[in-house]
Amino acid sequence: MQLVLFWIFSLLMLLSAMGVVFFRNPVSSAMSLVLSFIALAAVFVTLDAFFIAVVQVLVYAGAVMVLFLFIIMLLDLREEKRRRVRLSAWLGGGLVVGGFISALLKVVLSLPALFVEKPALSHPLANDIEQVGYNLFRNFNLPFQVIGVLLLVATVGVVLLSKKELK
């Protein structure tokens, strides 16, 4: 059952990711990106990471995608015109991507430990929100604050960069 779910969502995620790459219309790409994010959230669920799955949907599928779509609409982007097909770019890109995948496969396939079935959790209803929150606010206090500053800077930056005229 888990395997089936895994395959369904994984394939959905990968296919929609391919959509992102291969659709020529930016809006279509953005929509498949949403799909991909949601599928990924589902995959997270198969990994018992409910909190992360929720955050994934909220932040990515919710906020980030809205931002993307907004911008696409704002900029009034059309379908990419058929410019000259750059065979060399596709070939080169393909080679790089292929090379990366083969390196990854080499690593994964050489590790028998990775093919062990998923062990059961000692506490099947583990409260991951509690665990994550606990870690975040206690152990990971420092990065958390750094992230806070980061967000502040990002906010200021976005305002600076996108306001038509600064006052």
């Binding site: 770019a89 080169g92 890109g93 080679l95 790089v96 991507v97 090379g99 990366f100 390196a103 080499k106 690593v107």
Partner: protein, 601 residues
């Protein structure tokens, strides 16, 4: 005054004079002349005094360069029979020529410079004479070269004089190249450069005859250059561009004889190297004959004398090579110094009278205008041509005798050269002093003042008498060959009279040269070959190398690497063509490459 100090005074007074002239010469002309003369006469007087003294056992010396036993060059004076005689010759002739110069140079520019140069020359020449070791001799050898350069180039504004000086120096340097190598070889074999110490080691050296031969021949190269032997003789005729006293003193009497003197110095070594002596003999003999041939067709009064000098030097070199003692050659050196100097001074006197005209076909009939000069020339000529009972007769014939005994072919050849000598010198004599005056100058020529005539007369006396056995035995210990063919003396007389007669016949009243032999007139084309070689081969080769330096060496070592680097930079720049995706691609390629390196075993 001790015999240890005297040579030092003789040696360094001229240097002091030269230095003072350099510093003060521009203030007063006469001061310069006075300084030079003072130095020469001091030297002359002291030399005569020294000649009378017995040899001192120990001479003063100071180490000029010292590295302990390995290598020490000292400046020290050798006082022996050889050097004493040579001192006499050099200082006496210098004193006379210096005096003569007072008159000769009176109206010339560069008066102080001239006397400065003469003093420097005297210093250098005396250094050669007194040298006790090869390096010291080499040093002064070089210095006479430079003073010769200065004096030949006295009229440096004239292209020919400037070129002649340069040529003399460079040709001498070629000889010095061999000389230096010879010195190095001797030092390498014996560990010393001192003549006496090398001589002491001669028995050890004879076990390697080829080595010794090579070393001697190399050292002889120095003589070839300095004493203008074939094939390095070309500079001497050209050096006649210098003022006549210079030609007389340096290029006839003393400096050119330094080569012979040097051979005499190392005579004990040469004695045991028959192969080297053979080579030396041939060089001397050929030079003697060929130069005499060339002299027969020259028309420049000084050049004839110059070729004559070369020819006579050939006799001396031959003398060193064939005679059992060096005194045979030194004897000729001694007499030659007197009569050749005299001849040059006479020629100078003619030139002054002729306003520096040297072309003898523009002269003629000077016997009435210049009686004293003619007389002096005549005396010198007799001695040169080997007229019986003059000095040349004694000294030259002795060498010819030895040559005939040792190497008959050469001997007879140089005996023939004696005839040529009589011919060319009488030719010159007749053309200058007889016949009609062939130019305005010749018609209005005037005799010279006493300051010039007196030294000439003094030399005239010597020219005739210095060979007389009663006189020469004070200076030399001569050995005479046995078994000389009787025909030789007859032949020599025949040669002398034949030469004189032929000259009289052809030239007594000739207005132009009745015979023309271009081969001799053009000095056997040797000068032309050299000219061609220097200009085309050396000059061309140098130009090619210069081109190669710029376009090949520089290219390979500098330009190509730098251009390659530049091109590399230029090419790399094109990776940076502004496109983010290209950058991302190269980034990705870098990632993949890096991963592969890390993951490979």
């Amino acid at each position: 005054m001790s015999t240890q100090i005297a040579p030092w005074i003789i040696l360094f007074t001229p240097l002091a004079a030269a230095a003072l002239i350099l510093l003060l010469g521009r203030f007063s002309k006469s001061l310069s002349a006075a300084l030079a003369l003072a130095a020469a006469f001091t030297g002359c007087a002291l030399s005569w005094w020294l000649f009378k003294q017995p040899d001192a056992a120990q001479q003063l010396s100071f180490n000029w360069l010292s590295f302990g036993p390995d290598f020490t060059v000292s400046i020290s004076c050798t006082i022996d029979k050889l050097s004493k005689v040579m001192l006499l010759v050099v200082t006496s002739i210098s004193a006379l020529v210096f005096t003569y110069s007072l008159g000769y140079m009176r109206d010339e520019e560069g008066y102080s410079r001239f006397f400065g140069g003469l003093s420097l020359f005297l210093f250098s020449m005396l250094g050669i004479v007194l040298a006790s070791n090869f390096v010291m001799m080499f040093m002064f050898w070089e210095l006479v070269g430079v003073s010769s350069y200065i004096l030949i180039g006295h009229y440096y504004s004239k292209d020919s004089a400037a070129d002649a000086g340069k040529q003399a120096f460079i040709v001498n340097r070629i000889g010095d190249f061999g000389f230096m190598l010879g010195i190095l070889l001797f030092w390498f074999a014996t560990g010393t450069v001192v003549f006496q110490e090398i001589v002491d080691q001669v028995p050890n050296l004879t076990i390697a005859p080829i080595f010794l031969t090579v070393a001697c021949v190399l050292v002889f190269m120095g003589t070839v250059g300095k004493s203008a032997q074939m094939p390095l003789h070309v500079w001497l005729p050209n050096s006649m561009e210098g003022p006549t006293p210079v030609s007389s003193l340096l290029h006839a009497a003393t400096m050119v004889a330094a080569g012979v003197y040097m051979l005499a110095r190392i005579f004990p070594i040469l004695e045991v190297v028959p192969d080297a002596r053979e080579i030396i003999a041939w060089v001397g003999g050929i030079t003697c004959f060929a130069a005499a041939l060339m002299a027969t067709q020259q028309s420049d009064i000084k050049r004839i004398l110059a070729y004559s000098t070369i020819s006579q030097l050939g006799y001396m070199v031959l003398g060193i090579a064939v005679a059992p003692t060096s005194d045979v050659a030194m004897f000729h050196l001694f007499t030659h110094a007197c009569f050749k100097c005299l001849l040059f001074l006479s020629a100078g006197s003619v030139m002054i009278a002729m306003h520096h005209e040297v072309e003898m076909w523009h002269m003629g009939g000077l016997r009435k205008k210049l009686p004293f000069t003619m007389l002096c020339f005549f005396l010198g000529m007799l001695a040169l041509s080997g007229c019986p009972f003059t000095s040349g007769y004694y000294s030259k014939d002795l060498i010819i005798e030895w040559a005939v005994v040792k190497i008959p072919f050469l001997g007879w050849m140089v005996a023939g050269a004696a005839g040529l000598t009589a011919f060319y010198i009488f030719r010159e004599f007749f053309v200058i002093f007889f016949g009609k005056a062939r130019s305005d100058h010749a018609e209005h020529a005037k005799e010279q003042p006493a300051v010039m005539i007196v030294p000439m007369l003094v030399l005239g006396v010597f020219a005739i008498s210095s060979g007389w056995p009663s006189i020469q035995k004070n200076f030399f210990t001569l050995e005479y060959p046995e078994h000389v063919p009787h025909s030789l003396h007859t032949f020599l007389y025949a040669m002398f009279f034949g030469g004189v007669g032929l000259a009289a016949l052809l030239y007594f009243k000739a207005a132009k040269d009745p015979i023309s032999i271009p081969l001799f007139a053009n000095r056997l084309y040797i000068d032309d070959v050299y000219f061609w070689f220097v200009n085309k081969i050396q000059g061309g080769g140098a130009a090619v190398l210069s081109w190669a330096d710029r376009w090949i060496v520089d290219m390979l070592v500098v330009q190509v690497p730098s251009k390659l680097t530049w091109a590399g930079g230029f090419a790399l720049r094109f990776l940076q063509f502004g496109n983010i995706q290209a950058y991302a691609f190269m980034f990705g390629a870098g990632v993949v490459g890096l991963l592969y390196i890390l993951l490979s075993k």
